[in-house]
Amino acid sequence: MKINRRKLLSLIGISPAVLAGVPTFAEPAKKNGGRGSVDTGKIEVLNPKGLPPAIQLVPMAPRVASLDGKTIYLVSDGFAGAHRFLNQMAIWFQKNMPSVHTIYKLKAGGLAGDDPKLWAEIKANGVAMIMAYGH
């Protein structure tokens, strides 16, 4: 099952939301001034969904015009096999873009944890990060 941009944006409410719960056929209640049965055979029921937080859109970082002579960090999130995959990527850079310098790092904090110390190092010494495998 693929997910396109339209559907993706719908997930965050930019267009009619799907993820948060939009009806597939039941109609929203009209103003009826009453409760329970509103038409013969029809009843009014409550939406059981909670309150998702507002989403602050985050602009992406400006991209690097050229990687020539620059340093890229290859960062593993600790997922099994990620370090070997990134090692192969370092070899790929050596063969195909030898002017690019790569540094391998294992992120602290596991899959979802933050690692401000490493981010600061990348900010100081590198121009970009490639991370594997996030999920």
Binding site: A26, N47, M60, S66, W92, A128, M131, H135
Partner: protein, 451 residues
């Protein structure tokens, strides 16, 4: 994404199995156009040569050469959409829906708002009835819940929201305080992990009898209104109040687990505890007269009967040879007859029994040497005790318990040690059975405060 915020262009790489999850997660965190690159799945067991071939191949989502995609991700200038700022408020739909009962049953299922079994339709009348089960104001915020803490945003919810979900599960108003207590923990019943997490909810205190919970014959089965519907409500509310349970997006358990239907909701058989043994909630700082619900998280349970040994010895062997997704903590569910046998062999408290189990259980060599590269290197250099362990051979049981409490890596040095062996007494005494599983005790919360 945190790195992008610091001004560092990033190319996250994700395997194709997680496409929906990755894109949904990026959108929910405010970066719907994040430049995620995809590889085939799975990658874990590929050889180095196979991994290199992946780099030389194509992104299975876009069909573009993979490394060109990666380079583009960090070098291609940003589009206007990728530079967007501002706030988006996700919609959860209208507050009410109107249709026939038959269509509404289908509607809740089709929109993943139920557990796909028939529900009680939450009319305003039914919800008002449920709200009579608590003194709390319907608009009071109960808590926040995420499909997976740290990975997905937290949703918030009120007493009324919880009541709607409790009605759908078929609960009675007198069960509502227990459901509110579960909701107040913020712990989802359907945590998103590829490992298919399950939960267990154990009620203690006078409330068990007030709502006639089953802690006797078949307590973990479909034989009691309160056990059934409190547990079911936790799952339904986790979907609707925590945004959990959308397969491929906010739920990734590869096989899933049937435990998620009811979360093994039960009560402890406190009146059959051996002398000196204390109820679960009392061991965690509550008074015997308090009513509480305790939560365990794990994956699986094993059912064990008599094997010709006293139970304390049998359980020790089981601890040595049992392995599962989690090898660092276990839970035991002891029928009162088994607990009585353990007590008869001199264990005057659960703590004494736990200490014995940690002291006497071992670890199979094949399991011990996993992820102990440093110790293996020391063993080969003759450093003790590792050298002796290595000499014992691959089929030996190494005299080190997997259940010695250890702090998580990075935990503060003075933080409490995690529970590694927790137990409850429960069952109808029809035979000397016990259950052992890989569930970890995660906490106890008050039900009384939600009455």
């Amino acid at each position: 994404m945190e790195v992008e915020k610091l001004g560092i262009p990033t190319a996250p790489i994700v395997t194709i199995a997680f496409e929906q999850l990755a894109k949904t997660n990026a959108a929910q965190r405010g970066m719907p156009d994040e430049r995620i690159c995809f590889t085939p799945h799975p990658m874990t067991n590929k050889t180095d040569a196979e991994m290199y071939q992946v780099l030389m191949g194509k992104d299975p989502v876009t069909g573009k050469p993979f490394m060109a995609e990666v380079i583009d991700a960090i070098t291609k200038p940003l589009s206007a959409d990728e530079k967007r700022t501002g706030e988006v408020r996700p919609s959860t739909g209208p507050s009410t829906y109107v249709d026939t009962p038959e269509n509404l049953q289908r509607f809740y299922a089709d929109n993943n708002m139920s557990d796909f079994q028939p529900i009680i339709l939450p009319t305003e009348e039914k919800v008002e009835w449920m709200l009579k089960g608590t003194s709390h104001h319907p608009d009071e915020i109960v808590g926040k819940m995420s499909a997976a803490q740290g990975a997905f945003p937290e949703w918030s919810y009120t007493v009324r929201h919880v009541a709607i979900n409790a009605v759908m599960a078929g609960a009675q108003p007198e069960f509502f305080p227990a459901i509110l207590a579960l909701a107040s923990t913020g712990q989802t019943a359907i945590f998103s992990s590829t490992s298919s997490f399950a939960r267990m909810a154990v009620v203690n205190g006078p409330y068990r009898d007030k709502i006639k919970m089953n802690y006797g014959i078949g307590a973990l089965g479909p034989f009691n209104d309160a056990n059934a519907t409190i547990g079911r409500a936790w799952t339904i509310l986790s979907k609707n109040l925590g945004g959990a349970g959308l397969p491929g997006m906010t739920y990734m358990g590869t096989t899933g687990t049937n435990f998620n239907y009811n979360n093994m909701c039960c009560a402890e058989t406190e009146d059959k505890l051996p002398d000196g043994w204390k109820p679960l909630h009392v061991r965690h700082g509550f008074k015997p007269t308090d009513s509480t619900v305790s939560i365990f998280t794990g994956w699986s349970l094993t059912n064990v009967c008599y094997f010709g040994l006293p139970y304390h010895e049998m359980i020790t062997h089981w601890l040595t040879h049992y392995f599962s997704t989690n090898n660092g903590s276990v839970n035991l569910v002891l029928d009162p007859t088994v607990a009585a046998d353990v007590k008869a062999h001199g264990f005057d408290s659960q703590d004494a029994f736990r200490e014995y189990l940690i002291k006497n259980s071992k670890t199979p060599a094949w399991l011990y040497w996993q992820r102990r590269d440093k110790e293996m290197a020391q063993a080969k250099q003759g450093v003790e005790p590792f050298a002796s362990y290595l000499k014992m051979g691959p089929d030996a049981d190494i005299p080190v318990s997997r259940f010695v409490p250890r702090r998580w890596p990075g935990a503060p040095p003075n933080s409490p040690l995690p529970e590694t062996i927790e137990m409850i007494v429960m069952g109808g005494e029809t035979n000397t059975y016990w259950l052992g599983g890989d569930f970890r005790y995660t906490g106890t919360t008050s039900i009384d405060k939600w009455v």
